[in-house]
Amino acid sequence: MAVLVYTENWDGSFKKLSFELVSYGAGLASMLGKPLVVLSIGNVASSELEKLGKYGARKILSLSDPALQVFDSQAYAEAIAQVATREQAEVIVLSNNNTGKAIAPRLSVKLKAGLGAGVSKLPLSTNPFVVYKRSFSGNAFAHVEIKTPVKIITLAQNSFGLVENPGAPSIETISVPVDPALVKTTVTEAQKQTGKLLLTDAEIVVSGGRGMKSPDNWGPLVELAELLGGATACSRPVSDEGWRPHEEHTGQTGKIIAPNLYIAVGISGATQHLAGVSSSKVIVAINTDKDAPIFEAAQYGIVGDAMKVLPKLVEAVKEIKHK
């Protein structure tokens, strides 16, 4: 019996979410008193795989197969199911990102294993096995019992954090038979944002709403995000207007994020927006309307015009950075 974690890589490199998954898997394995097995798919150098050891990975399985070069959820679910069976996995952990959402449900049916999706804590109990997950789009949390012998968890990004537990892992190259006929997806074009921090991975996010007034006013907001080492985001009206790209839209129908610090600039804080950001640890709101609902969610607030406040904030951050 084991806890199996699937870690995704981007062209052979791991991102924060990979390390967070391993941290979670290590925590879960110690809770269950079972070993942790980490699975990586694709060509990843051993020096990169070894980085997972810092977060508690001691046994890493590295799988590469021509059938898994294109991401096809059917083929990936088949490969992971075979590894899970081989390792007698009791719990399988994936990210609740695009990839995890594509694979986990298929894996659930394949293994007849109950799925707890968007989990943000270690299980509340292991017998019965009860997970804690977001529900009603962040307006509530549910305690969900998974009743099957094998369980699948998808971990909400940035919900658990990184836990260091350094050690040298063993790396085993494995292969499992994946029928190439399962791969039905053909990718004809790929657009990548290389080197850019993933919005869902970012610890600090500076986000703008309609209060930014025009797409030309984004300079100081972007500068603030850069100075803080964070990512930029926006509200739905802003992406609908085309002021900012759709990938930046955070909210119920956009990206769901949970950074340590979320700075909402000129965002009124409609329920649908809060649904995407309410798991942020600290929310700062800057808005001209002191009655805007965003101030109910915010821990710190400034009532003022974004155009006047932002440049001053940028100066303040620069000053502190100089010290």
């Binding site: 995704e8 990839t99 594509a102 049916v109 015009d305 904030l313």
Partner: protein
């Protein structure tokens, strides 16, 4: 080609949810029920595809797993423009149960493209679409933000972390759709509302399946601390609070 859109019946997304029976059940008092937002966008896109005869879409149907109380939501889908509806007469136990029921619908009534929303706004599991595809043994494309038909073949855009991809996949398949698939949900016309009254809703009895998970209880998020206001003339104070009090910088 025939399209099926799977729809979930959810509380209006602006609802302030409350729970009853020791937090085991949603308090449905005063709740407005709506088509799950992503399902509504899927239906809109399916109808847009059907509007262009060159795409060769004959039928857009909807399917729902739920009790008779969900029929107003199904009628709304018919009023928006779906041609027919299937309702599996059962409480939607969990995602696995729902997907198993939908799979039976599709096995008895084949479709080429099956749309599912990326998640329902109540349980947020992002599960039914992928499970349905696995039950049927057909491909699924997840996080789909656009779909069109070119030369009789579906072409999709899917979002991946850190980019997007244009993909094609043979029918039948499940498209698990997210934001971007359609700009605004289509609104029912008066004529649509009138004709929806006579469109068929086929009621099917559920297949024997057990849910694999069960909600034990719900809880509301912890109350946020009251907001501390900082003088707009002195944002430096904000930075200091973030550094020393909140310790996030």
């Amino acid at each position: 080609m025939k399209i099926l859109v799977c729809i979930s019946n959810v509380p209006d997304t602006t609802t302030r949810v409350r729970f009853v029976e020791n937090n085991k059940k949603l308090d449905t008092n005063g709740i407005q029920w709506v088509i799950n937002p992503w399902d509504e966008l899927s239906l809109t896109r399916a109808l847009e595809l059907k509007d262009d005869p060159a795409n060769g879409i004959q039928t857009v149907a909807v399917a729902h797993v739920g009790p008779a109380s969900a029929e107003p939501t199904i009628r709304k889908a018919l009023a928006i423009g779906a041609d027919e509806a299937f309702r599996v007469n059962a409480e939607p136990g969990d995602a696995y149960f729902v997907a198993a029921q939908l799979a039976e619908v599709v096995k008895a009534n084949p479709f080429d493209i099956i749309f599912c929303g990326i998640e329902s706004s109540d349980y947020n599991n992002s599960a039914v679409g992928g499970m349905l595809a696995e039950f049927l043994g057909i491909p699924s494309v997840s996080s789909v933000s656009s779909i069109s038909i070119r030369d009789g073949k579906p072409v999709l855009t899917r979002e991946v972390d850190g980019g997007k991809e244009t993909v094609s996949v043979p029918v039948p398949f499940v498209a698990i759709v997210q934001k971007g698939i359609a700009k605004e949900p289509r609104i029912a016309s008066m004529r649509g509302i009138m004709t929806a009254r006579t469109k068929p809703i086929k009621v099917l009895e559920p297949a024997a399946t057990e849910p694999l998970t069960a909600v034990q209880e719900f809880e509301l998020p912890p109350a946020r601390k009251k907001c501390t206001f900082v003088d707009p003339e002195n944002p430096k104070q904000l930075i200091e609070l973030l550094q020393n009090e909140a310790k996030v910088l």
